[in-house]
Structures are given as C-alpha cells and as structure tokens.
C-alpha cells in the first residue's frame, strides 16, 4: 500500500523532473532508465523519492580510464546508496555501466559490465537483497557528454543506479 501512495503522489512531478534528469537518454527512450509512468521521480524533499536518491544520495559513480575499481568517493556513494535501498525496500534497481568512446565497442561493453558489477557487489555486501539489483552495460553507446575531451570522458565512465518502484512487492 505504501508503494501505491508514493506512485500517486509523484506522478505530478514526473514531467518536470524528467527534463532535468541527466541520466535519461532522451525523449521516448526507455533503455533501462526505469523511469516508467508508474514510478515517478518524486520531490527531492521527500527522502523516500527517486529524486532524493539522485540528488542527495547520488545515483552515479565515476571511474578512471579502463578501470572498474571504485574510487574512495565512489565507494562512499555506493555505501549511501546501500543505506537508502535498505531503508526503502519498495524499490528495485538496475545498475547501468558505461564507458567513454576511447575503446572498441565489444571491450567497452565488457568494461561497462565490470563497472556495474562493482557497484552491485558492494550493495549486496552491505545487505541489499541481490534479487533487487540487476546490471546492464551500455558500453560506449550512451554517453551523456559528447565532447571528445577528458572532461567529457570522465563523466561518461560511470555506473548509474536507476530505481524503479517495485509495484509487485
């Protein structure tokens, strides 16, 4: 019942929030963004909302070139994600791993999978149920920054934890 209430309350905020969601892949695109009509982002003032998770907890971690080890900052972000997920058991997550464009397509798919898996493993080690988390790699297919400079590449080498309200739960 709690989930339903949340879904109804957050629908109004969906259209506005979707425009500012840096993780979305563009209008009409639903490649694992998990922002379906029933989930909604909610208000970041609500600590149980997706918007709060994205803005206050932090939905993404960044990686060094060709690396999939979490940085200290990345580790702290994932620990905070784990806490939030433990406190908000009605959400499930897909962790999207991404790479920058400096690499061959297949290798970057595998590298993105490693990055997503690094986040997943830490979440599970903190007690988040493994059946709440899936991973997917987009390799270099979905950059968020499009310049061919390190400033953009650094933002693209990422793992993003994308939440969905688990209505079946």
């Amino acid at each position: 019942m709690k989930t339903w209430t949340k879904a109804v309350l957050t629908v109004a905020a969906l259209s506005l929030a979707a425009c500012t969601d840096p993780g979305s892949f563009g209008a009409g695109d639903d490649y694992g963004t998990g922002t379906g009509a029933d989930s909604g982002l909610g208000s970041s003032a609500d600590p149980g909302s997706i918007a709060y998770f994205q803005e206050a907890v932090g939905d993404r971690v960044l990686f060094l070139v060709d690396q999939s080890t979490l940085s200290e900052q990345g580790r702290l972000t994932v620990l905070a994600q784990a806490n939030w997920l433990m406190e908000n058991p009605d959400y499930i997550a897909v962790i999207e791993g991404h790479a920058d464009e400096q690499g061959t397509r297949e290798y970057n798919l595998a590298l993105g999978a490693r990055r997503a898996s690094a986040v997943q493993e830490l979440l599970v080690s903190q007690g988040v149920a493994s059946n709440r988390i899936r991973t997917v790699s987009y390799g270099k297919e979905r950059p968020i920054e499009i310049c061919s400079e390190e400033s953009c590449y650094a933002q693209n080498r990422r793992a993003v934890t994308v939440l969905t309200a688990n209505l079946s739960g």
Partner: protein, 440 residues
C-alpha cells in the same frame, strides 16, 4: 525479391571467339603486390543494346562495371570521350588498333537484351595489345531487377581474369545505420550491396543494435540487440526479416557473436557477474559450451576459415591483446606484442592474415598481421577507426571511422589490404559495424 534474383551463367560457345589466352608477348595481368602499382588502363564502351528497351540498362550495366573496377584502385578507365572506335555489334571483330591507340590495355565489350522481365547480359574481355580474347565470353540470365548483380558478376569475372584472384563485387554488407547526435544516437540494422546500392533496413531504431555478422551463406545475420532491455544475441533471417533471440538467460548479457564456418553454431561473449567469457552455442539445440574461464575480459571471437581455431581479444595480461586458441577452447597463445592495445581480430577468408583494431598513443588503427602475429602492418590511422571486416576475396577491409567532438559521426571506410585506396563507402547517413557477406 531483388537480392534473390536468380542468375543463370553460361559460357558463350561461339567458336570464333573462343581463343585461348595468347602466349605471345606479356599476358594481360595485374600482379597484386604490396608495392606501388600503376592502375591498368582499360575501356568499357557502353554494352550493345540488342533489343528494344534495353538502351538504358545497357548503359547502366557498363557504368556499374566501370565503378567496380575503378573502385579497386587497380584499374583506370579510358573515358568514352577519348574512344576513337565504338562497339555497335557484340559479334563483330574488334578493331584492336583503335583501342591500342587510346592505350586501353584491356577492352570489355558486352551485349544486353531484355524480354519481358528477363535480362540477358553477355560480355567478352580482350587483351588489346596481344590482340586476343582473355578467357571465354560469358552469358548471365536473370530478371531485370537483378541488373546490378549481373553487372557485378561481369566485373568479378573481369577482375578474376586480370588479377588471377577471386572478385568481391557481387556481395553485400550488413551494418548499423546511425542517425542523431552522439548522446541520442538511433541505430538500426541495414543491408546493402557492397557499393551502397539497394539499401534495405532490417530493424527499426527502437532498440540499440550492434555488430551484425553474416552467416557463411549470407542468409542469416547475427547481431546484438537491447530489445529485451539487456544486450542479447539475436539471429535474423535476411529474406523474411524474422528474428529470434538466441541467448536470453536472466542476469546475463550476450554479445560479439560470430558464426562458425559451417553455420551451425555461434561463438560469442557472455557476461555473468561482471565477468565476460567466450561460449559456443549450437543454434539448433541451444546447447552452450564454455570456451574460456578466466576473470579477465574475453571477447570479439572470430573463427579461422577451416573452423579449427578461434582468434579473440583478452585483457588477461593487463591490457587488451590478441590470442589464438583451439575452437574447442583450452590453452590460448598470445599473438600481439606491439605497443598499445589490440582488439576486434578477424580472420581473413583466405586464412593467411588477421585484421584488428589497434589503439596506441590516443590514435586508432586498422591493421593486419599474420596468424602467428608476425609482420604486423598498420593500414590506417585516425581519431577512431575500429571493427574491420574482410571482402570475400581477402583483398579489401571495410571498417568504422568515427570523427571526434560533439558533432562526431560514424561512417564506413574501405582500404586495400596493402594500405592503398583508403576511401569512404557511400551510404545514406551515418553507419558503423560493417560486415561483408560472402560472394553471392
């Protein structure tokens, strides 16, 4: 459907022209070597229209033949306006002196007739300086909508006679057609003739699709799609455009598929728990066999033409490098030892070379090496070149070139295995991940 237009090939048996290649003088021949070569001058006057209504198609066929030959970089056409003689009757004797005078070493003549939707094309190749015919005349019959294929067949025959190697013009390329900016790129599978003609889309752009690969007979295409929300390997029937997912196990990703040379199984990467290894799957039974078991990334597998070995990339040494192992798995031998990272190896259809992508000092290269890793040669250099595919005769490599920056776009390029003749492939819009079909 055009791509399955039936072609009947027959040898012209008109006795007077059936001379063997002349033994006098130097035979007409391009020896393809890695040195600089002077393209061979030749003439292909418009084929003779032998029936009402075959005027335009006669001209069109001649132009496609010329485009094929010119595109190799091995031939140079003597333009029609320089000709001092014309071919008005396919059966009449050739005035060799007139073609010698314009320095055409080779002369290609032909005749075209149309009856209802049936098209017949016949041609002969002459060694102008020897004053003889090169090989026998050939005749192709088919439907009129297959006229480009017949032109490619003629060009393949001319190429084979003059170079002594198989041609590659009657072939197709499947690739990923791309539109839109880098951060919202739309991708769909497309198939076209090797020269960009007869484009047909095989999927819509609702899901990301990657790296299509032809079956050994060109009837099916393997590719990776995000249709299920997760990257999975699909197989698509080119004729019916029907597709099915090959590997869809929850919690895993599959990608980088390639057919075995017998077309019965697929080798691909499967990722589980963040670790990517190689698997072989029998298409009929769906049975999967694990080929590698390491914590490193193993991907981009490609069979040797005899099916006995697989070349692939792995970062087990710390960086991406190329390895060869038995097709059944087991111990792998590293073959790349130069500076930089090596990926996307593809075994040549001749079996003698492996093409690859190399990254070094911020640049990307397409290169080739022998199958033991020796004699590495880089053929290209740019901001981002990747994903080589071989022409059916192992002479030409097509690949993806992406330009840098916010407006960067992907396009297809081809280069001769010697490193000569680098040029863009004409396609409509952007494109990536080309895969060349076998000769049709």
């Amino acid at each position: 459907m055009r791509l399955f237009a039936t072609l009947v090939i027959g040898i012209l048996t008109v006795g007077q022209f059936a001379h063997p290649v002349s033994a006098q003088g130097t035979p007409l021949r391009i020896e393809i070597t890695d040195g600089v070569i002077e393209p061979m001058p030749y003439a292909v006057p418009d084929f003779v229209a032998e029936t009402q209504g075959s005027n335009q198609v006669s001209k069109d066929i001649s132009r496609v033949i010329a485009a094929d030959l010119n595109g190799t970089g091995l031939f140079r056409e003597i333009p029609a306006k320089a000709h001092i003689s014309s071919i008005t009757n396919f059966g009449s004797p050739v005035q060799f002196a007139d073609w010698k005078a314009v320095n055409a070493q080779a002369l290609i003549t032909g005749g075209v007739s149309v009856s209802d939707n049936q098209l017949e094309v016949k041609f002969r190749v002459y060694d102008v300086f020897a004053g003889t015919e090169l090989g026998n005349g050939l005749r192709f019959k088919g439907t009129t909508d297959g006229w480009r294929r017949m032109a490619h067949k003629v060009a393949d025959a001319v190429y084979a006679r003059i170079t002594g190697e198989g041609g590659y013009f009657d072939s197709r390329v499947v690739y990923v057609a791309e539109t839109g900016p880098k951060n919202d790129r739309k991708k769909r599978l497309a198939v076209m003739d090797y020269d960009g003609a007869n484009l047909q889309y095989l999927t819509d752009s609702s899901s990301i699709v990657l790296a299509p690969r032809f079956s050994p007979t060109g009837d099916r295409v393997l590719y990776t799609s995000y249709e299920t929300g997760f990257p999975q390997v699909f197989v698509l029937d080119v004729g019916s455009v029907r597709r099915k997912v090959l590997s869809n196990e929850s919690g895993t990703m599959s990608f980088a598929p390639r057919f075995s040379p017998d077309g019965k199984s697929v080798v691909m990467s499967v990722t589980e728990g963040g670790n990517t290894d190689l698997y072989k799957m029998d298409i009929a039974s769906g049975k999967r066999q694990r080929l590698t078991s390491t914590p490193s990334i193993e991907t981009a597998p490609s069979y040797s033409p005899d099916g006995s070995k697989i070349v692939f990339e792995s970062d087990r040494s710390g960086t991406q490098q190329l390895y060869v192992m038995s097709a059944g798995g087991g111990e792998a031998t590293r073959i790349s030892f130069g500076k930089g990272r090596y990926g996307t190896p593809v075994w040549s259809p001749r079996g003698d070379l492996i093409a690859f992508t190399k990254q070094n000092k911020g640049r990307f290269h397409i290169g080739v090496m022998r199958t033991d890793g020796s004699e590495e040669r880089l053929l290209t250099a740019s901001f981002l070149d990747e994903g080589p595919t071989w022409s059916p005769n192992g002479r030409v490599i097509m690949f993806t070139r992406e330009t840098r920056g916010a407006g960067g776009a992907a396009s297809l390029y081809s280069v001769d295995v010697s490193g000569r003749n680098l040029k863009p492939v004409k396609i409509n819009g952007g494109g990536s991940d080309p895969a060349w079909s076998p000769l049709q």
